[in-house]
């Protein structure tokens, strides 16, 4: 009698568990579809012929075509804008890493008053919250006065300024997690302070620097607002150039091209995200918590 009851209980429990498992899988599936379907759809759109684009109900199986890819890559100046983007992101990355490491070293290691250091650090952090729109008008006026509009250097400078705060905070965090003793030992053995840092400290925090670099690269290549206002035909990066393919105005002409362009823009960040996820997650969670 008692045994039977217990078996029933166990049966009930396992059936509850199966229901739970099925529900779990379904919910995960829904989330996955919500996250990935738009991306899949944009890829499909980029290889549909003009006629298939307007088919109702929407087609999922069709004869793919590369005509939109050809238009964007070969017939337009898209690759030129892509080059601009890479130059801007690459230069920003290098400048930010050097300047931010210097500043972070100072904040993490210098002996001057703790209170001043903390205040400087929080001042720097507060800059990250700055809405770009609040400074774009004066920046536009000032740059046009010194004839710096439509130049790559201008965009690099803006990107550097807007990526510095987060980078300083991240690198400072990594620096503080290193042990100072090893570097001190190197100094005792005859290294200069700089030499000790470069030979001992820097290699230890390479993963941290890498994740900072990745984040800066992604933010810069994604940057749109400053580029929209400060760039022109010569210095236009790809995020702004993509507007050329938008279907605004002439409705229903350039959907395929817009899809291709958007895929090309997000490709670098997506590739980085996929292959270097471990570094990126460290960076983002740290970046988020700290700033």
């Amino acid at each position: 009698m008692f045994k039977q009851k217990r078996v029933n209980e166990i049966n009930q429990k396992t059936s509850q568990q199966t229901v739970f498992k099925v529900g779990f899988v379904i919910m995960l599936g829904v989330i996955l579809v919500f996250a990935l379907f738009p991306l899949l759809w944009i890829v499909l759109t980029s290889v549909k012929t003009q006629r298939d684009l307007f088919a109702l109900p929407p087609l999922f199986i069709f004869q793919p075509t590369l005509e939109h890819w050809h238009t964007v890559l070969i017939e337009s100046e898209f690759l030129h804008y892509y080059r601009n983007s890479l130059v801007i992101s690459g230069s920003t990355l290098i400048v930010v890493l050097v300047v931010a490491t210097m500043a972070a070293y100072n904040l993490a290691r210098s002996q001057y008053a703790y209170k001043i250091r903390e205040n400087i650090a929080f001042f720097i952090l507060s800059q990250r919250m700055m809405p770009p729109v609040a400074i774009i008008l004066p920046v536009y006026v000032l740059f046009s006065r010194i004839r710096m509009l439509d130049r790559l250097e201008t965009l690099i400078l803006m990107n550097v300024a807007f990526n510095l705060p987060l980078s300083i905070w991240m690198i400072r965090g990594f620096l503080e997690s290193l042990s100072v003793e090893i570097e001190e030992a190197a100094i005792v053995d005859g290294c200069s302070r700089l030499g000790a840092f470069i030979r001992v400290g820097l290699p230890q925090m390479l993963p941290g620097l890498l994740s900072t670099a990745l984040l800066v690269f992604i933010y810069t290549i994604n940057e749109f607002f400053f580029a929209l206002i400060l760039s022109g035909t010569r210095s236009r990066p790809v995020s702004v150039a993509v507007q050329l393919f938008l279907p605004t105005g002439v409705r229903g002409t350039l959907f395929g091209e817009a899809a291709v362009a958007s895929i090309l823009i997000m490709l670098p960040s997506l590739i980085f995200a996929m292959f270097m996820q471990r570094y990126l997650v460290t960076g983002i969670s740290l970046g988020a918590i700290k700033g």
């Binding site: 779990f24 300047v99 100072n106 800059q127 004066p138 994604n222 206002i229 997506l270 996929m274």
Partner: protein, 311 residues
């Protein structure tokens, strides 16, 4: 350096003190030397423009017309009484609150699902996080295409289940829903990522003992996990609230603030009324009001961070 000066210009007191002053300055600056480049860049690119626009916001400076006159707070008063400004403030609040709220709910739900171990979890996590990595401009294009009237996949799918979808980006409320959906799509993974980290670092002992005491899954969540993660949740919420308040790219691409000004958030409103009409002073005043709102929220955030760090 001082002594050198002394031997060369013996007796000439006037020559003495510039050298001393110099070394004094060097000594004062020396500890801050490494942080100088960063501070100079921030000062030049962010602080100086801010001061410039503050001074211009008190005048009637206009790029289209020469000359400027000091007019005090008139620009600010005009902005606060301006119907368009108030409306865009409302749109911004609606947009930020809705997208942050939905993102938090969805993201926390996803984090709870990903908290348990199963086969393929790593791959699944990477895939779910992808939208966050998509360029905001591309997010705008993706959803612009998905919400298109003539070949919209969304209306196509709605049609399959017998619903006649609206012309999404042409109607006031459906356009608002559309931009919120795009934002939620992009930023839900952010909540997931951070909250998952928080969930996984909860002390196992507490959870176990609650389980032993017979707490159900929901009770565990309601009385143990959420209270323990309260400060983390608050921090993520504030970060997203601030960031979504600054959203520009995706809305600019999807609707450019339209139809009319239905989706014109504050940054778009300032951009649209500032640059094309060259009315820099008025736009500066508006951006200062915008800034004040953000500073208040940011101060809250930083206070929360400092408290979290001290505990």
């Amino acid at each position: 350096m001082d002594s050198q000066f002394n031997t060369y210009s013996s007796g000439v007191g006037v020559m003495l003190w510039p050298g001393r002053l110099l070394s004094k300055i060097v000594n004062l600056v020396k500890p801050y030397l490494l942080i100088m480049p960063a501070m100079l860049i921030l000062a030049g690119v962010i602080i100086y423009p801010l001061i410039f626009s503050l001074s211009k916001s008190l005048t009637d400076f206009n790029l289209g017309m020469p000359g400027e006159v000091f007019i005090g707070l008139k620009n600010y008063i005009t902005a606060l009484n301006d119907q368009a400004f108030r409306e865009s403030l409302g749109v911004s609040l609606l947009f930020s609150l809705c997208s942050t709220g939905l993102g938090l709910a969805l993201g926390f739900g996803t984090a709870l699902l990903l908290q348990r171990d199963f086969i393929g979890k790593r791959l699944l996590t990477i895939l779910i996080i992808l939208p966050m990595m998509v360029t905001p401009v591309a997010v705008g294009i993706i959803w612009l295409l998905m919400f298109q009237p003539d070949f919209s996949i969304i209306n196509g799918l709605l049609g399959l289940i017998g619903i006649n979808g609206p012309i999404w980006l042409q109607n006031k409320w459906s356009a608002r829903i559309a931009v919120i959906v795009a934002d939620v799509w992009q930023w839900t993974p952010f909540f997931t990522l951070i909250l998952l980290g928080g969930l996984l670092s909860l002390p196992a002992a507490v959870i176990e003992s609650a389980k032993v005491d017979g707490a159900s899954g929901f009770q565990l969540l309601r009385y143990i996990k959420v209270p323990m993660m309260k400060s983390l949740i608050l921090v993520v919420l504030l970060i997203r609230l601030i960031d979504s308040f600054k959203t520009f790219d995706s809305i600019f691409i999807m609707t450019n603030g339209g139809p009319g000004s239905a989706t014109e958030v504050l940054s778009l409103h300032i951009y649209r009324s500032g640059l094309p009409f060259m009315n820099i002073s008025y736009a500066s005043a508006m951006s200062y009001l915008f800034l004040v709102i953000l500073i208040v929220t940011t101060t809250l955030l930083i206070r929360q961070l400092r408290r979290a760090e001290n505990v």
